[in-house]
């Protein structure tokens, strides 16, 4: 194992986060605060509790997931796409580094950044609403696995993307509808039966529901199913990456 290389890639990526600290950290804090002012204080005041949880607290896990997914995909894809775009990827490809080590470096950094920002949002949220976490270990399980699997997913997008448009396609056009319609701001039990059924095809619903269960012990779907779904997604991402590395797809061809 080339530990020095993993460290080099990881800290190189983290240095980029440090350079863009304002944009990386301050902007999610501001947008979360805005969500709480609008949905928590202004509108939330008129919404009754959902499953015995105040509306402001209810949306917190959804907001964390929204940011976590966007950040992890964004960082995971940009980290590998940018060297491909500028050409500096030649150096990583000509180094004595295995593909696993490349992934550990890039995806590790993307997931770390996602987790940092998710934690900041949790702390910001706790300023606005009364939060308690019923099952901290389950919460960490969903939090960390989601960060890793979506950073991997981002990494795959970064390898696949041929230009900036493709790079932004999934994070901008696919993820927000899935997160918004995945029960971030409501329980799907509030939907008509038809849309409830449709929602079950949305994988993000399972993430948010499982994550919310770890906070309040309320969920739209069984948390065990949520855990299975996130593990399945992680397995799919790892399989796709293994195939990419074996064939050299868009990297060594």
């Amino acid at each position: 194992m080339n530990i020095e290389a993993i460290k080099s890639i990881y800290f190189f990526e983290m240095a980029r986060t440090r350079r863009t600290l304002l944009q990386s950290v301050v902007s999610p804090v501001i947008s979360t605060s805005l969500y709480f002012i609008v949905f928590g204080a202004a509108i939330g005041g008129r919404i009754q509790e959902i499953d015995g949880v105040s509306y402001g607290a209810f949306i917190t896990p959804g907001l964390m997931m929204l940011t976590l997914l966007t950040q992890c995909i964004g960082n995971g894809s940009f980290g590998i796409y940018f060297p491909k775009f500028t050409g500096t990827i030649y150096e990583v490809l000509s180094s004595p580094v295995s593909m696993l080590e490349i992934v550990l470096g890039y995806v590790g950094a993307a997931a770390t950044k996602g987790l940092m920002i998710g934690t900041i949002i949790l702390l910001t949220a706790s300023l606005f609403v009364d939060l308690s976490i019923a099952h901290p270990f389950v919460m960490v399980f969903f939090f960390v696995l989601t960060a890793i699997s979506f950073s991997l997913f981002g990494f795959i997008i970064g390898i696949w993307a041929k230009d900036f448009e493709q790079l932004n396609l999934i994070p901008m056009l696919v993820i927000p509808p899935l997160v918004f319609l995945g029960g971030s701001f409501y329980s799907i039990k509030m939907l008509p039966p038809f849309w409830q059924a449709v929602s079950h095809f949305n994988p993000v619903l399972y993430l948010i529901s499982g994550f919310r269960w770890s906070f309040f012990e309320v969920s739209d779907v069984n948390p065990v199913i949520s855990a299975v779904i996130i593990l399945a997604f992680l397995t799919i991402c790892m399989s796709v990456l293994t195939w990419i590395f074996r064939t050299g797809y868009r990297l060594r061809n």
Binding site: N2, I3, E4, A5, K7, S8, I9, F12, A15, R16, R19, P83, T86, G87, T88, Y90, E91, V92, L93, S94, S95, P96, V97, S98, G248, R252, N253
Partner: protein, 308 residues
């Protein structure tokens, strides 16, 4: 001694169907400087990219230090430093950080002393805290060389290292290359400046259309293919080559002011003595005599032209 780099029957066909390499075989000896010459699109960069592990080969094998570049990639890539053709740098990194990053990627423990030496050798020491985007093109090129030397490679690939570099910098770069060779590093370079290859290389390889046309010791190549020309400036212009000299295959140039005689240096008799005697006998007065050897560039044009 076993060659440090051994390429055998290497081929590469890109997804588009383009055959960049067609069964290339090449041995590179430890400690030598090999210049690879070839027109654009000849396959030079593809060959280097496969040896360095950036591109997967379609067929054939490459060994570096006795290790296979695909199977034992850790061993081979640790031995190799690569300076790419394109000036690809991370705009927002500092010189120091980017060179340190390269060393780490190659699995070497940090060694600030070595990085400092490399930067000083390349006259980059006073720029170590500058961001790469603040540097000129020539300096970026030197940063790429510093990155390639950060992990103390045994084999260094320089892909068009002097493209777009001014004369002074080019000279100092060749001094660095000379020093590296003196320390035992094997150097493979591609260049468009044939006079550079002529000056610095031990052996010359010519590649065109994905095939190696020849690999030869530079001096042997020059004497084998090198033609010499004798130029005789005449005191009085002539209308044509006199009948008495017709057996010498002379050409008249410069409005009849000079005679050109092509001869082969490797031939037993060059014919110069008898030609000069014949000129004197014919009563032709000479103003000056000079000789000119064909350059590597002439040879290159000849080989590539013949291969078409």
């Amino acid at each position: 001694m076993a060659p440090i780099v051994s390429v055998s029957n290497l081929s590469k066909t890109y997804a588009s169907g383009f055959k960049a390499l067609k069964g290339v075989s090449l041995d590179i000896e430890e400690g030598e400087i090999l210049a690879l010459l070839g027109p654009n699109g000849a396959g030079k960069t593809t060959l280097i990219s496969i040896i360095c592990g950036i591109v997967n080969p379609s067929g054939g094998t490459v060994k570096v230090g006795g290790h296979d570049v695909v199977r034992d990639f850790r061993e081979t890539r640790s031995m190799i430093g690569l300076v790419p053709q394109e000036l690809t740098t991370d705009a927002f990194e500092t010189v120091w950080n980017t060179v340190t990053f390269s060393r780490g990627l190659h699995g070497k423990k940090p060694n600030p002393g070595h990085i400092e030496k490399v930067l000083k050798d390349l006259s980059l020491w006073d720029k170590k805290d500058n961001m790469l985007r603040e540097l000129s093109g020539g300096m970026k090129r030197r940063v790429l060389i510093a990155k390639a030397l950060s992990h103390e490679p045994r084999v260094l690939f320089l892909d068009e290292p002097t493209a777009g570099v001014d004369v002074n910098l080019r000279k100092s770069m060749w001094e660095v290359v000379e020093r590296l060779r003196a320390s035992g590093v094997t150097i493979i370079l591609t260049t468009h400046y044939i006079e550079e290859a002529e000056e610095i290389a031990d052996r010359i390889g010519v590649i065109n259309g994905g095939e190696i046309l020849l690999v030869e010791d530079k001096a042997a190549l020059m004497s084998k293919l090198g033609r010499k020309q004798l130029r005789v400036d005449l005191a009085h212009p002539m209308d044509g080559v006199p009948e008495a000299l017709s057996s010498y295959n002379l050409t008249l140039e410069g409005d009849g002011h000079c005679l050109i005689y092509d001869y082969d240096t490797s031939a037993e008799r060059t014919g110069i003595t008898t030609l000069l005697a014949a000129l004197a006998e014919a009563g032709i007065r000479l103003k000056d005599i000079s000789t000119r050897q064909s350059s590597l560039e002439d040879i290159f044009v000849e080989i590539v032209g013949a291969g078409r």
